[in-house]
Amino acid sequence: MSIPVMKYEAVIVGGGGAGLRAALQLSEAGVKTVVLSKVFPTRSHTAAAQGGISASLGNVEDDNWHWHMYDTVKGADWLGDQDAIEFMCRQAVDAVVELEHFGMPFDRLENGKIYQRPFGGHMANFGKKPVRRACAVADRTGHAMLHALYQRNVKADTHFLVEWMALDIIRNKNGDVVGITALEMETGEVYIIQAKAVLFATGGAGRIYQSSTNAYINTGDGIGITLRAGLPIEDIEFWQFHPTGLAGAGVLITEGVRGEGGYLLNCNGERFMERYAPTAKDLASRDVVSRAMQIEINEGRGCGQNKDYVLLKLDHLGKDVIDQRLPGIREISLQFLGIDPVKEPIPVVPTCHYMMGGIPTNYRGEVVAPNGENMEDIVKGFYAAGECACASVHGANRLGTNSLLDLVVFGKSAGNSMVEYIKQHGDEYKELPEDAADFSLNRLAKLDNANSGESLADLRHEMQKIMQQHAGVFRTQSVLEDGINKIEALYARVQNLCIQDKSKVFNTARVEALEFMNTIEVALATMITAEARKESRGAQAREDFPERDDEKFMCHTLYYKDGRKIVYKPVHTKPMTVDYIPPAKRVY
């Protein structure tokens, strides 16, 4: 089949923080680059990030990157790769200063420096006491960062293909990535985009759960595409449940509320986090707080008629602090629950928030996969950064504000690696395989030709229900086994997916169906890998295996679509320059 071919040296799939930071690096280096995005770049979900971006600027009190690194390793429950973590924490100060230079409108301290607030798991002196490390723009940090990065790309004259959806990557017979197939939504046409290097920055997949802080477009496309291309994904069983999602609505209430002095209460008016984490209290790591909340609710100390949420109290901060530092939170609470936090506490529940796993990469943003003896062979021409990637800096549990940092540090690093690779590459593009687009076209033809079958709405709701019930905050063997059976049965039904709208122009039903084919891969992979990991670590809390098992499981999970196979690979224990931080019990 012959379809139009476009050529760019670098193709970036994703216009969120990670994609835009990488694009800047490439555009400024004079590489012919295009950024594809399903939505106009500033509509990417990075815009929803509220609380802050971490860097040990030390603007308010003493801080340094060693402490930041320690907190990240500990937060990750020793599943993070310590070379990548060192790389990120060391770059953090420069990365945030660079954002300021790009025009990001950070809040300021009286002395004119960037404002910093406390956040969960951010501690001074190797875990001794909370420290102010989160650099913030009120409670709209992601929005401000995304707009600043987009603006900088306008300045750099980056080329965008807006409302284009990547369908699959194209690999040649050596396995090198040589381009992608993509759908232009406005016309419904499919194109091949040939490239020397392709970066995925497609964000998360929080939509696999019923209750999620994620946008509708967070459907895990990058993960689905990678799996279909025969490559593995890493640590996908680790999903962060954010302690404070708005009860019922799922909308996020930032940890910054607790950073500014808010705290959680059960139905007895007890500040229960004092029991679970005597030092850090409400600012313990997210997995710790979410589990504590779930236990309070399970043991009947939840609030409300059904005792199914706890309360986040912040009225004691006063209207001025709330309006200055947390205006977005007040707006959200009023909008979605009709509750004014200046007067009343906000009902909250643990809510699916962040995907720690993703496409395996090294700290240079290069995608890696096992090849013979080598567990981390570089997949030539393929890069990933941001939430869709697993570098792995977040390990089993991400610290708040480390994601925005991850986007800019690894976006830039991947951009630099791509510039290097493209320069070595010379003028020639690697040849496209004859059948480059057939795989995608066949997938589309199957969808377009189906005249009866399963409805997308039913399948999607069913998946979200299964994930919520079987792969939630607490997990056990039998619940996970049931979960696998159910999700496998559902997966079989997805093959008969049918949409009614067969038109081409901006057919959003078709886009949603294609997205769902990615999302369901993520859901299945999550359930299977969670069952296989028989230990508790970070966000994976197994009631039947309550302890961390470093002997058997201090290793990364690699999951393949073919045969639903799992392989484990070792965690990087060697940092770049400093001493290894050995595993210890995680107390806050």
Binding site: R43, H45, R108, G112, R140, Q335, F506
Partner: protein, 236 residues
Amino acid sequence: MSKKVKFSIYRYNPELDVKPYYQNLEIELDDLDKKLLTALIKVKEYYDDSLSFRRSCREGVCGSDAININGRNGLACLTDIDSLKQPIVLRPIPGLPVVRDLIVDMTQFFNQYNSIRPYVIDERPMPERERLQSPQDRDKLNGVIECILCACCSTACPSFWWNPDKFVGPAALLHAYRFIADTRDQATAARLDNLNDPYRLFRCHTIMNCADVCPKHLNPTRAIGKIKEIMVSRVV
């Protein structure tokens, strides 16, 4: 508990329809379904999957789902269903070419945004650390940087309808002000020159539609007024 809600929705698919029409629908919603976006998603899921509209964050931060709702521009995700008179009449935001159903072509809107040079211009060598800015100077950006580029304002502005290629429009003018007000930006004079033209800035007749509809409660009219003030004081 459930409730019934009546809609009249603008439909147009250039592939199939000779001209636009209104589709009348009555749908059943859960009592807990609060926002208009939830209703639109239910229409798409259970009544007619060919209805096309944009959406993403569902919490008013991405700016995707600007729609004309009972004659007034707003975000579907922040609009309470119960506050609306039925049948709820939904149309694409006015003044821009319709691509399909509730989806418009935003090219002109973003071209105007790009035309104001939407980035901080400061060609001085950067210090090793952050540039300093006082909290008072930083506060000048409040009420401006919250803009989500939804286009509710510009597509409610008669001056923009008539001259979308020449009049910058309230959203992009708000951003022009954002960079003029930012103490880090060194290009105020050039920015004012760029706007000093019978159309680009001065087509604004202070009709206030823009401030009236902004879902983020921003006030482009005030920002435009401030630019005009600075412009005048410069001439004097």
